[in-house]
Symmetry: C2
Subunit: 185 residues, 2 copies
DNA sequence: TACCTTAATGGCACTCAGCGCCATAAAGGA
DNA sequence: TCCTTTATGGCGCTGAGTGCCATTAAGGTA
């Protein structure tokens, strides 16, 4: 009766109690009541556990883009989808904050994030490429993926600092801050 | 008579021959003619070997910023220093390309890059913070660090694709591409 | 009911990064 | 010559991650 949610739950409890680095896969396996070998069948690595079902949320991300009217200005479309991607129900927003705090404050996980971010950037690059009728490996699609990520991570960092802040509002603010910065003389 | 350069040289040869993941620290130690334990005294981890003396180059990066006239527009100053940081002599540019290709195409190293990038972003954040008379942990300094990194990585990716391209020219192009993207309606 | 197939499980042994500890050798200074 | 510092590297350990294989549960068929 093992499933991802049960593993995640037990793991997050241990990460909170002992810290990520001081929690072994054997610890988690024991807490879930399962063999270590089984854990590695549900999550390809220890670093993937905090990310939960990130791959599934990328599918939703793609659907957001698919639903954008084609006449929407490109930058506006991308920003709106990034905001939508980071919009969470009140019932899960605190759990999301715990998850992201763990990921963004644990060096091991910050490093692993690069792999996850790459897939996220790819979704954006593919949309931009589609809109411009070019390949997703072209210069501009990749650039927009990188810059959108930069804005998002900056917003997340601020979100973790200000407990009362709104993530979507912060995304707007970071975007506005970037525009002002580039326009400044 | 062991030094960083000798280790790097032997390691790069092996990485080229066998791939990064299939080269063990024991392999490198044997090639250098030194104990594995000694390798870990020169480089804190296997992942740090491809980065060479990155920390030292960050000191130069800081000096670039210190030499900028205070009346230079902020965005212009940052971009100029990023370009300067990525300006290499013709005699070392090909070695730099090998290094960056390894880092940017090996998943293990892409992940580790996050740690290195953080220190690089910090240099930018500190300069922006200084110019604005605020803290380096404030929103805008961190944002500019992230966005500058996004532009740089995008330029590097393109640089690896186009063998004849100029890295500094690509940095200008990515910056121009971003401005055009954000200004588009 | 007996039989067969398939998927999930988990134990075992192995590789490799990385660290703590300690012994040794070389170098340099008084 | 003695003492101290520094570089070295061996040894053994922890922990992530993998391949292999045996066991068990589940589901379908004759």
């Amino acid at each position: 009766m093992t499933d991802h949610a049960a593993i995640e739950h037990a793991a997050f409890r241990l990460f909170d109690q002992q810290g990520f680095d001081h929690t072994t896969m054997d610890d988690i396996a024991r807490a879930v009541g399962v063999g270590k070998r089984t854990l590695f069948r549900y999550f390809p690595s220890k670093n993937d556990i905090p990310w939960g079902q990130f791959g599934a949320s990328l599918d939703l991300f793609r659907k957001q883009f698919a639903a954008v009217p084609p006449e929407t200005p490109l930058a506006e479309a991308v920003h709106a989808c990034v905001v939508a991607f980071n919009t969470f129900d009140d019932t899960v927003v605190e759990q999301h904050r715990v998850r992201m705090r763990l990921i963004l404050t644990t060096p091991t996980l910050q490093a692993h994030s690069a792999i996850k971010y790459e897939a996220w950037r790819r979704v954006i690059a593919e949309y931009v490429a589609h809109r411009l009728s070019i390949g997703a490996d072209e210069r501009l699609p990749r650039l927009i993926g990188h810059v959108s990520l930069a804005i998002s991570v900056a917003a997340y960092e601020q979100w973790l600092i200000d407990p009362g802040s709104s993530l979507t509002h912060l995304l707007d603010q970071e975007m506005a801050g970037l525009k002002a910065y580039l326009a400044s003389r």
